[in-house]
Every structure is written in C-alpha cells, then in structure tokens.
C-alpha cells in the first residue's frame, strides 16, 4: 500500500513514494477512497465474476475499436478494390468495405485487432446474458437491487445495438442483407413504417447514408451510453455491496469475502488479463466474419446460411417461425402481422424480463433488503419461470439456424421449423413443470439430509439382526447452508380497511397462490430434534 498515512518519524527519510502520495492526496483527497474501498469485502463465487467478463470484454472492444477507427472509413462511395485479396481485385465496392479489407489484408496485425474486436463483442453480449441469468436465478434482483437490474437490462439492449451497428459497418453482402431485413421489418410497421425506413436510410434502400449513420451511433452515441451506464451499474454494486450465498458467518447484515486490496485486486486484475488472453488466442486462431468471402453488398446476390450474429438470432428466428399468410389488407392499408407478431411477442417477453423483479416483490410483499443470494432450488417457481423463459428464447434462437440444423442433422427445413414452432409454444410450459418438480425434489432432498444426514454407505448389523445404513450427520456449518432461507406462503385474501377486496388484491392473491402453493419449508430446530428422537427409538 503506497498511500499509507505518512507517520514517518524522521522527515529526512521520506521516500519518493510517500512524497508523491502526499502530493496527490493533498490535491485529490484520494486517501478517503483507498481507505474506504481498499478493504471492502468482495464475496467469492465463480458466478459473481460473470459481470466482470462482460466488463473486461467491453474494454477490449473499446480499445480494439479505437484502433480500427484509425483505418476504417465509413463512406459508401464506390471504389474499385485494389488491395491484396486476389478474388476481389477490381471489384466495385464501397469505401467502407475496401477499408475493412485493407485493415484485414494490408495492415500488419489489423486482421488480429479486427478479429479481437468482433470476438470480444460476441463474448461481451454472451457474458451479459449469462450474468443476467445468474442474477435472475439467485434472486439478486431483489430489494435494493431492482433498479440496477433495469440498468443492467438496458445495457444488454445497448450491447445488442452496438453489436448490430458494428456488424453492418463493413457493407459486405452478409450485413447488407441483414440491413435489408431490418428495412423490410421497419416497412412492415403500421403508419410510420414506410417513412421511418425512408428517413433511416436517407432515401431508398440501400442509399449511401446508412453506413455513416450507423458509424456515428456505433462509435459515439451508443458507446457513450454504455460507458455511462456501466459506471452507474458498477457504482451501485459498490453502494449495495455484492450479494453473497448463505454460509456460516454470512449474515444479511454483512458482506464477507477477500478484501479488494490485495486479493481481490490480484484475482480480478489477473482475470481481466486472462479474458483478454483467451480472446487473443481465439482471434489469433479462428476466423470471424470473413467479409472477403461475402464480397461487397449488392442487392441481387445472397448467401445460403445468411444469419445475424448470435444475439440478434432470436429475433431472426421469431420471423422464421411465423406460418404463411399472416398479412392482411384492411381499410385499404397493409397489416403485416408476419412482422408485427414477432415484434410484439419479443416486446412482451422483454417487458416481462425487465419488470420481473417488481412483479415478484409485489406478490411477496417482502419489504426487507435481501443480500443473501437464493439457491435456485429454494425459489422453485422463479427458477421454473426462468427455465421457461430460457426455453422460449432458445427456441427462437435455434430457429435462426433452422437451415443449418436441417443440413447438419439430415432433417427437412420444414420439419425443423414445425418442431421449433411447437417448442416455442409448448417448450416453456414443459420446462416450467419439469424445473419446478426438480427444484421441489432437490429441496426435499436437502431436508432429508438435514434431518437424517448423508448416506455414508456404511452398513452395520444391529444386535437384533437388522441391517441399517449409517447416516453421517451434518455439522452445523453445512447445515446452515441448507436451512438458511425463507419460504413464502400463499397470500390470504382479506378485506382491507374499508371492508373491500380490491381487484389488485385478487390478482396478487392468485399469483401468490401460483408461486407459493407448493412450498418446502426449511428444517427448524424442533423438527431436527424430533427426527433425532425418533431415530433413536
């Protein structure tokens, strides 16, 4: 620690470090931050690092992206390519495409940085997704973290927007067809669609404006928002302090873990380099987005297997799953339900995701702060809802690869689409019931273990000739991990002060019944004693 309070007895022996620290502190007051934050505890669990994966891959994206801006030219002016790649020589293409090819083929290390940028972007969004799943399934969105859940969610949307705008910049055939799809979707919107597309593309599709506009969004507006929101999001992690799993000594009123300085700094700092290293290995060895294969955008050709990057896949899949004929002319206007239904369905899904913390809080009526992360099994209904959501998303996601699934598993694409249509509708229901039963079963097993101990595998013969398996009792620390949770019971409908039962209360009671009808309570002391006494007789 370089900024330790300087209590040097002999001023003559003052080191340079001490002098420098004092100089900085006198002008910034930084010592407060170091004293206040340096020894903060950061609870340790592998899943708590997923948010950091997102943060650190975003840093790669930011750094590599800055390098790329020095070479990329966001212009749609037509040039004849004369760089190094033989099969494109002399081909007419936009300056954007040509400069991306030059980054790839004529600047040393340019391809490496480009591939790092793209791989890290894919990782960024994937890590956010996994981080959100962790927060959801451990209930880490409960009070006081509901608003930070919303910030995180907005970051997820912004990350996807960053990804899509970046994917479109090289103006290659793949991304051009992606923009073509966006154009077609926008046009399908009632009332505003035609004009929105017209304004967005600066005239007719494809026009000569879109790459420049997306570039401004991609390197200016969106990153500024992402950086600002990350600051807020991480700031709230400091204010709230991180959640922790139940364990001996871990209370709702404390936060236990390695201190930020030095262990956490070493681990998280090292982790940052490890993520960068993993992305470097991937970028050094694996091709991503080979625009030289796709060629420049031209509205006439298209490639088999035209897909968006993975995080837009669910939306593309939703478009594919609509059966024929969902478009009508009514009141002399065209209603494109083949576009509106996927958009609305995804919109509702997204809205449910972002509102879920508030809905659950309302149903439970629990106003306490929650700093102990739930084990997913101890919130069976929430976990089951999560599994249903994941299944729904995965169904849409898989649909975006319907053609590749068909060719690689020797199926018909029609069969794949029909199977996925069924998956998206029935899959979540099945996933819900299976997950809920599994959670309840696991909770029952936990109760068994607390009451009767682990099966030791040791068989002994009792004096009476009876064989029994010896059960190994739990120690109090292990037991605490299994019993320290709250179960909730369904809400009883009661008339309010004015003697009325409101509609809202009815809905809340209904939802509460759905959530908490099947509940397994944690073992209490009394139950354990009772179990022991029966065992000994």
């Amino acid at each position: 620690m370089t900024t330790a309070p300087t209590q040097s007895p002999a001023p003559a022996k003052r080191t340079f470090t001490a002098a420098a620290s004092e100089y900085v502190n006198d002008r910034t007051g930084i010592a407060v931050a170091i004293k206040g934050l340096g020894r903060k505890a950061f609870p340790d669990h592998w899943s708590f690092l997923l948010g950091e994966v997102a943060l650190f891959s975003f840093i790669i994206v930011l750094l590599s992206g800055t390098f790329l801006t020095f070479f990329f030219q966001a212009s749609m002016a037509e040039v004849h390519y004369d760089g190094s790649y033989v099969p494109l020589k002399g081909v007419e293409m936009s300056v954007a495409m040509a400069s991306t090819l030059d980054i790839s083929f004529d600047i040393r290390g340019g391809l490496f940085v480009r591939q790092m940028h793209h791989w890290a972007a894919l990782l960024f969004v994937a890590a956010i997704g996994l981080h959100m799943l962790r927060v959801f399934f451990t209930g880490a969105f409960r009070k006081p973290r509901e608003i930070n859940w919303v910030f995180g969610f907005i970051l997820f949307i912004l990350a996807m927007a960053e990804g899509f705008t970046g994917y479109s910049l090289p103006d290659d055939l793949l991304s051009g067809n992606g923009l073509r799809i966006i154009d077609g979707m926008i046009k399908g919107f009632p009332i505003i669609g035609t004009w929105t597309s017209f304004l967005f593309f600066g005239g007719e599709f494809p026009g000569t404006a879109i790459v420049g506009r997306l570039y401004t969004l991609h390197i200016l507006l969106l990153p500024a928002l992402v950086v600002a929101l990350i600051a807020v999001h991480v700031g709230y992690v400091f204010i709230h302090k991180h959640t922790q799993f139940a364990g001996p000594g871990r209370e709702p009123t404390n936060s236990v873990g390695p201190p930020i300085l030095p262990i956490y700094a070493a681990k998280a700092g090292g982790f940052m380099f490890l993520i960068w290293g993993v992305v470097s290995v991937i970028a050094a060895l694996f091709t991503i987005n080979p625009i030289w294969n796709y060629g420049p955008y031209d509205p006439s050709p298209v490639s088999a297997g035209t897909q968006p990057d993975w995080y837009i896949g669910f939306a593309d899949g939703a478009l594919r799953l609509i059966p024929p004929g969902w478009e009508f002319v009514w009141l002399d206007r065209t209603w494109s339900f083949n576009i509106l239904v996927p958009v609305i369905a995804i919109g509702i899904f997204i809205l449910l995701v972002v509102l879920y913390p508030f809905i659950e809080a309302w149903i439970k009526g629990d106003k306490r702060e929650h700093h102990i992360a739930d084990r997913p099994r101890n919130a069976p209904t929430r976990t089951a809802i999560g599994a249903a959501g994941v299944t729904f998303y995965a169904g849409l996601w898989a649909a975006a690869a319907s053609d590749l699934i068909a060719t690689h598993f020797s199926l018909t694409m029609e069969g794949v689409i029909h199977a996925l249509q069924a998956t998206v509708i029935l899959g979540p229901i099945i996933a819900y019931f299976i997950t809920k039963r599994v959670c309840l079963a696991l909770q029952k097993k936990d109760r068994e273990i607390v009451l009767h101990g682990y099966e030791s595998g040791r068989i002994v013969k009792l004096p009476g000739g009876e064989f029994i398996e010896v059960h190994q009792p739990l120690d109090e620390y292990e037991r605490w991990r299994l019993v320290s949770y709250n179960s909730y019971e369904p809400l009883m409908l009661r008339p309010n002060a004015r003697g009325k039962i409101t509609m809202g209360q009815r809905v809340r009671a209904g939802l509460s019944r759905w959530f908490f009808e099947d509940r397994i309570a944690p073992v209490t002391r009394g139950e354990l004693e009772a179990a022991h006494s029966t065992q000994h007789h």
């Binding site: 592998w46 033989v86 099969p87 091709t287 294969n293 298209v302 993975w310």
Partner: protein
C-alpha cells in the same frame, strides 16, 4: 527489384520446413504426372465404337433397371437420351449414380466404377443423342480470373452453395452440397447439366470462360486457407456464436471456477 532483395535478406524460420514440403510436393507431383500420362493413354477414346459398346454393356448391366434398356427411361428413372456425356460423368463419377435408394436427392458416395468405365458409360449415353460434353482441360484447371469468378459465384451459386462453397439447405430435405473437394470437371459438368434440382447454367448464361473463372475462384479458396485462422466450417455467424458460447465462455467459466476455488 526490391522484392527479390527482401527475399534474400530474410531467412524465414520455417524456410527449412517449407523447403522440405516443397521437395515432397515435387516428388509427389512427378509421380502424379507420370501416373496421369499412363492414365491418359488408357483413357477411353470418345469416338471409338469399342468404347461405346463397352459402355452399353455396363449400362445394361448396371443402369437399365431404372433408365430402361435403351436409356429411354422408366417409371423409376428419367430418359437419358440427350443428357450428354457431361451428365453421366458427373452423376457416375461422383458416385451419385447408381442410386443407393430413393430419397430427397441422390447422395454422393464413393464412385462405383473406374474412371475408364465412367467414360465408357458417358460416351455410350452421348452416342444416343447430342448433349453437353465433358469439358476440355483448359476450362477446369483453374487458370482463369478469380475475381470475375467470385462475383459470378456470388450471383449465381452462393444462395444455394454458400459464399464459401460450404453448402446449404433446400426445401423438403434437399440440400446444395458443399463444393470443397469437388473437382473442377465435376463443377463444370454440374453447371452445364443441372443435376438433381440444380438449374442448368448453359453457355449463353455463363460462358465457358466464366465457368472457368468460377472454378478458378473455388480452387483459390480451397488452396488458400482463411487468413484469419480456422474457418469453423465457413458457416457464418451461427458457427461463430456457438463457438464463443461453448469454447470462449466455456473456457472463461472454467477460469472463474479456478479463481474462486479455495486453494488447499
């Protein structure tokens, strides 16, 4: 020229390996050349009656069940009169014919006949009626303009076969096969004959020179591996997404578990 100067000035660490590889290639090439000259001598003469007679025998023994004794076609197989030598050379040479079983489309498998037998069959069928011939060597040896070929490939072929020739799905279980490792002759023949559900690209649509360019492009991407590293099957964003989730995020999750594991 500064290019040659640079070459002498720099000794690549892999130079020895490259030299070795080059030597091996040359030796192998010499063998291959020797073999191909002997093969060329034994190759069936298109015009000779003998070849056609041999072909007819092979045809009647192996193909007539479905295509009829005189290749006039039956309920199980189309007439082959006028399909030309190119069609037979493609279908039989790639092992698609004789067909193993009825299915959405004939599957590629190891060829059932020797090259010579394939040629005999081809010229027998060609003798029944005029049709596209097996292309001349200079059209399929990859000496064309790769850039022109790439552009034509994107417009005429990529929607089914994928821009990198990785193949793609068609309706009802049919598919456009990958074009990697398909010989130039077979690609040429496929274009002129339109096997299975592939449309025909006659010489007025894509000229023989254009076809040569397309083959040149395909050979270019086969000979030059992707500069970015492994291609992941050239399947595009789906493969990339799966890769980052399974291997990228998988590796990172393994690291998180290691980082937070209690050290003993």
């Amino acid at each position: 020229m500064n290019r040659s100067k640079r070459r002498t000035g720099r000794r690549h660490p892999l130079a020895t390996v490259a030299l070795l590889a080059l030597g091996l290639v040359f030796t192998g090439g010499a063998y291959a050349a020797l073999n191909s000259t002997t093969a060329a001598q034994a190759e069936a003469e298109p015009t000779s009656q003998e070849t056609i007679d041999e072909g007819k025998k092979l045809f009647q023994a192996n193909c007539a069940t479905c295509h009829g004794l005189e290749a006039q076609g039956t309920g199980n197989g189309p007439s082959l009169i006028g399909v030309g030598a190119a069609s037979v050379d493609f279908q039989v040479g790639t092992g698609r014919m004789p067909m193993q079983m009825q299915g959405p489309q004939a599957q590629q498998k190891p060829p059932q006949f020797t090259d010579e037998q394939v040629k005999q069959l081809a010229y027998y069928v060609a003798s029944l009626g005029p049709g596209p011939d097996i292309p001349a060597d200079h059209l399929v040896n990859g000496g064309g303009d790769a850039a022109n070929g790439a552009e034509l490939f994107r417009i005429n072929c990529a929607m089914c076969h994928n821009v990198a020739g990785a193949g793609g799905a068609l309706t009802e279980g049919k598919f456009a096969p990958p074009l990697t490792d398909v010989s130039g002759v077979h690609i040429y023949e496929a274009m002129v004959t339109g096997p299975q559900n592939m449309p025909v690209f006659n010489d007025l649509n894509i000229t023989p020179e254009d076809k040569r360019d397309i083959i040149t492009y395909l050979q270019y991407i086969q000979d030059n591996r992707s500069p970015g590293g492994f291609e992941l099957g050239s399947l595009g964003p789906v493969a990339e997404g799966l890769f980052i989730w399974i291997f990228g995020l998988g590796a990172i999750v393994a690291i998180t578990v290691w980082i937070t594991a209690k050290s003993n």
